[in-house]
Symmetry: C2
Subunit: 199 residues, 2 copies
Amino acid sequence: MTSGHESDRTTEKIMEATYQALCEHGYPATSISKIADEFEKSKSLLYYHYEDKEELLTDFLRYLLDQLEAELAPAEGKNPTERLVAILDRLCPREVNDEGMHFRRALLEIRTQAPYREAYQEQFERSDDLILGEITDAIEDGIDGGVFRAVDAQQTAEFIYSTVHGTIELGVTLEDTTIFDRNRAMIDEYIDSHLRSSS
Amino acid sequence: MTSGHESDRTTEKIMEATYQALCEHGYPATSISKIADEFEKSKSLLYYHYEDKEELLTDFLRYLLDQLEAELAPAEGKNPTERLVAILDRLCPREVNDEGMHFRRALLEIRTQAPYREAYQEQFERSDDLILGEITDAIEDGIDGGVFRAVDAQQTAEFIYSTVHGTIELGVTLEDTTIFDRNRAMIDEYIDSHLRSSS
């Protein structure tokens, strides 16, 4: 109704088109023109908004991060284990379909380019800080509440986050989605045996 | 002396030049011409041997894999824990310098391209099979010898291998080598608490 709403709606459509293009073509082959092909509005609008692919993709990463932030926020009312499970379910679900696999592969491709592109790097650092912070908070919460052992929360969070990345990396690059289910069982077991207080 | 030796020597020089180019430019920017710049012999020799970048890189992956195979072989005489440590030290050492980081980043970049290029995919599948096989063997060896608990060797191997991949991915994409040392401590602790038999 207002131009602000209209502009939000346009942004959303651009982000959806970017998502589709990434799933379909992967990062290296995704161009503004390929994204425009997925965009139902005028292509000139897209070119008007963004100078190059990097600018658009940076906005896309920012958009994803805002979504993740909004999704993780309600977890703060949950108990520590539920919080950990919520993050793991979001990042590394037991079942991943083809679209989910292609999208995660594209994200990994963008991540490998981050060291060459400061704008990407900034977004990945923000998202890693957000996720590591959330895992660390959940663990500290559990330690404070006596449900988790007094482990090094930050180091344990980093380790769990690494297992998530490794699982996704092996799954999407070898195109084997069955690893998600197997490794989630191992991560859950790790949380149970390494974190859960025996008292 | 023989033409066979001469040809081996040339192959080695080409592989060294490829390694240097990858460390310096990363995978996307590495071209046959950039590799030729690192090659002391005639450039035409390189173009004579390889039709395109993909062909050369496939040979490079094969060369790395042969080296890895030769390096892991002597581990078969060691005890199960030493075998695991040897693999971890090789893939995910506690300290990684800039060159090691740049090279691992280039390898990750090539890995993300594997789903689009069958020749790469084949090499990564072979190398994952080799490494997972070695970790699984070491764990089974430990179970048979009573030093490890009767865990699911294959699933545990896959989990450990995933933590290695996740560690390298986070380290090289965020350009933070300190994670190698921290995560290795966590992996070692995991092996100790999850695998080591308490009897």
